[in-house]
Symmetry: C2
Subunit: 140 residues, 2 copies
Amino acid sequence: MSATTLRELGLHVTPQRLAVLEAVASHQHSTADRVLELVRANIGTISRQAVYDSLSALVDAGILRRIEPAGSPARYETRVGDNHHHVVCRTCGSLADVDCAVGDAPCLTAASDQGFIIDEAEVVYWGTCPQCAGQLQTTA
Amino acid sequence: MSATTLRELGLHVTPQRLAVLEAVASHQHSTADRVLELVRANIGTISRQAVYDSLSALVDAGILRRIEPAGSPARYETRVGDNHHHVVCRTCGSLADVDCAVGDAPCLTAASDQGFIIDEAEVVYWGTCPQCAGQLQTTA
DNA sequence: ATTTCAGACTTGATTTAGTCCAGATTTGGA
DNA sequence: TCCAAATCTGGACTAAATCAAGTCTGAAAT
């Protein structure tokens, strides 16, 4: 499936790209560095540059989504096209998916858009993950 | 007002901090680098580190808000406590304020919160600013 | 007015995340 | 098969921010 998908999008099919795709698919929300590790563990060798190039190509092609929460390096995920959002733990930085609260286009219409033509509304929820919340209680 | 505010919050009142505060107040959405320039133009000399220190102290004290849109260095603004959001232009990176679409707490309740304790919902609208939209039309 | 010291500031090195570059290699379609 | 375009490699480089160690200063207490 993956190889075919790449070819249909006019992208050359390379072992590196397939491995990058595989790494993100099996480890959602990975950073570029994590993908580098995963791919090396998988196919033995790949350059950092190739990882960045592959990730950008796949993001541009719409196969991957790049998310960049404040205070964290960019992360990548395969779930695209469904406009879901994310929760970030303030304590440990962990990240989880969250479905849209209101139908499938929450808050997409701003009250006053300042004349901007808006094409996407990105929502990031900030809080504390279950694990960190538990630890806070026990230490308190 | 500013000096008093700082003192009330238990922060030392220093010329650097006052100048940083002034710079952000008069130039909303500035980056740390821009603040550095502005303050130097104003009081003559300040270290980069002092700018970062002051900005963090003021953010921690709740006087400033830090926003970090993807692909941009951190920006600072004085408008705090009203939970407004931002529009970012994909073309030129310019940033504008946007009031909440739905009352004063849009999308704050996620559909499935994954067990996270959510304390803030941050919304970033992406699109094209009036200027860039105009230029695209003329060039097309 | 002086003393005192935690907090603030300075300089300079370091880290992190990511990009740029130039040359070698590989890919897919004619 | 063959070639131009696309991709990969390794290293140098940049931007943004942080760390470290020493010096200075605001403001509370004498």
